[in-house]
């Protein structure tokens, strides 16, 4: 059973034009995909449908085998907890420290602080923020914010990891390091979908690619 399945999915913002049109694909458990396409092709919109920030205007979206349109509103938070998201604009909580930001999903899941603080600290060391755990996001560089956003997305070992341009603000060495983190998580069973412009990253990882053009999913070799 695929963890993510789209069937004839279209999406629009309000009464605007469709940003996604008749999209269909599925992600098998433990798979690793890249999502590529030019700016405005619909990459972020597609991710939004998966992390339940938006609803499809047409078609069927299934997560973990459940049709999202039929899921009770009270169950949606529990589905969201199974999905880690690295937002393009980071979306860090500016009034919380690096440590608190990274620990946020665990706190929301109702875990006691003493059960996760060592894990959070270890993860922050791993992404190179071990010395900045006190710091507020406003004092971090773009790359540090990126790494913090990634740490927050993976801290609760999600079933699916979605990342929107996760290497956009980091140097090549860190980019490679983050890719290794994603690969490692994938090896542990997490399904990974990374939206990126970084062709070098895509080439280096040698993983399947979903390519969007003007809101449509294009098969390899297919030109619109």
């Amino acid at each position: 059973m695929p963890v993510v399945r789209f069937e004839g999915v279209s999406m629009r913002y309000g009464r605007g034009p469709e940003t996604l049109r008749d999209v269909g694909f599925s992600l098998a458990p433990g798979s690793f995909h890249f999502l590529t396409g030019a700016s405005g092709a619909g990459k972020s919109s597609l991710l939004k449908l998966i992390y339940l920030a938006h609803r499809a205007s047409r078609g069927r979206v299934e997560l973990f085998g459940r049709d999202i349109s039929l899921v009770h509103a009270g169950d949606l938070p529990f589905l969201r907890r199974r999905i880690g998201v690295v937002f393009q604009e980071f979306r860090l909580l500016e009034h919380l420290s690096v440590f608190d930001n990274a620990a946020l999903p665990l706190r929301i899941a109702g875990r006691k602080p003493n059960t996760y603080r060592d894990d959070v600290a270890e993860l922050l060391h791993w992404v190179g923020l071990g010395e900045r755990m006190h710091a507020l996001p406003a004092t971090l560089s773009g790359g540090e914010k990126q790494r913090l956003a990634i740490a927050r997305a993976v801290v609760d070992r999600p079933d699916v990891l979605l990342a929107d341009e996760p290497t956009g603000n980091v140097d090549p060495a860190m980019s490679l390091r983050l890719l290794r983190l994603f690969v490692e998580l994938n090896r542990l069973g997490t399904t990974v979908l990374i939206a990126t412009h970084d062709e070098e990253l895509v080439a280096r990882a040698a993983r399947p690619v979903l390519h969007l053009e003007h809101g449509r999913l294009i098969e390899p070799g297919e030109a619109e």
Binding site: Y51, F78, R80, R91, L93, D118, H134
Partner: protein, 297 residues
């Protein structure tokens, strides 16, 4: 923050950003509403106390109008009535008013010139009743009837009923004003919660997308606004107590005025104000937050 991060001393930070400048204005408005609510409660208590006092005074006494029978002078009829009534159970004292006093009572109504000597002025007997077990009008009438005295007993019950009706009206009016103020406070809090949610939309969205349940997020706002309203309630309640103490001291032993007496114990009325304010604010904030979260995907 300086120094190495001490994991053992780490405590999770507040999920909602610290208070902002608008919170001060909200505390002020809620404090004023709480102050008005407490003053209403104090006024209601004072009105109630006044009504009780008047009722007690009226129910502790009765008046008997005595008409002389043929062959009897009004004064002797009144004296006989007083003597009869003094022996009735529940009567502490019975006193016949003299002719002068009876005429003095009538003077404002019919004037001095009209009080001609041969006008059969009725005589009055005033009764002080036992406050614990006052004699009923029926018992007094029966005793007078048995003693063959022609008299009408007025136990003031008509006035007591009027006063009780008035006191009841004052109580309901106070309750109505109190309800209005509580509703206004709830509306203010609801408005502030919506503004708070709008201002912290980014935070709410991150919590929401990270899997926070609506109840979890609503609770953050509920607790935030309940704490704020509790401190506002404390300020408003304290201000009302200060006004009450000032009124009590300025009014001497009988309170603000003998018409609106305020007892020291009445000044405890604003005590639950912070709790009630917190409850109203917490519920209003929770409802507003849940309503807004319902619209999120």
């Amino acid at each position: 923050m300086s120094g190495p991060f001490d994991l053992n001393r780490w405590k999770p930070g507040p999920l909602l950003p610290p208070r902002d400048a608008r919170d001060g204005a909200l505390v002020f408005v809620v404090a004023v509403l709480c102050f008005l609510a407490c003053l209403t409660a104090l006024a209601a208590l004072a009105a109630n106390r006044a009504a009780d006092g008047w009722s007690a005074q009226l129910s502790g006494s009765a008046t008997v109008v005595v008409r002389a029978k043929a062959g009897e002078t009004p004064d002797s009829a009144a004296a006989r009535a007083a003597e009869t009534l003094a022996g009735v159970k529940g009567v502490s004292q019975a006193q016949a008013l003299t002719k002068d006093k009876a005429e003095a009572l009538l003077e404002p109504w019919i004037g001095r010139d009209a009080l001609v000597a041969d006008l059969p002025t009725p005589r009055l007997v005033t009764l002080d009743l036992d406050p614990k077990a006052p004699a009923s009008a029926e018992a007094l009438t029966k005793a007078l009837h048995e003693a063959a005295v022609d008299a009408v007993v007025d136990d003031h019950s008509r006035w007591i009923a009027d006063i009780e009706r008035g006191a009841g009206l004052a109580r309901w009016a106070a309750l109505g004003v109190f309800g209005l103020i509580a509703a206004a406070a709830a509306a203010v809090i609801t408005f502030a919660t919506r503004a708070g949610l709008a201002a912290r939309h980014e935070v709410i969205e991150v919590l929401h997308l990270s899997g926070a349940e609506a109840g979890f997020i609503a609770k953050l706002f509920q607790n935030r606004f309940a704490a704020m309203a509790a401190s506002a309630g404390l300020l408003g309640g304290a201000a009302a107590v200060i006004v009450g103490v000032t009124a009590r001291l300025a009014g001497g032993g009988a309170g603000l005025t003998p018409v609106l007496p305020l007892a020291w114990i009445d000044l405890l009325a604003p005590l639950p104000c912070p709790l009630i304010a917190a409850l109203v604010a917490g519920l209003a904030a929770r409802a507003a937050a849940l309503r807004l979260l319902r619209d999120m995907p």
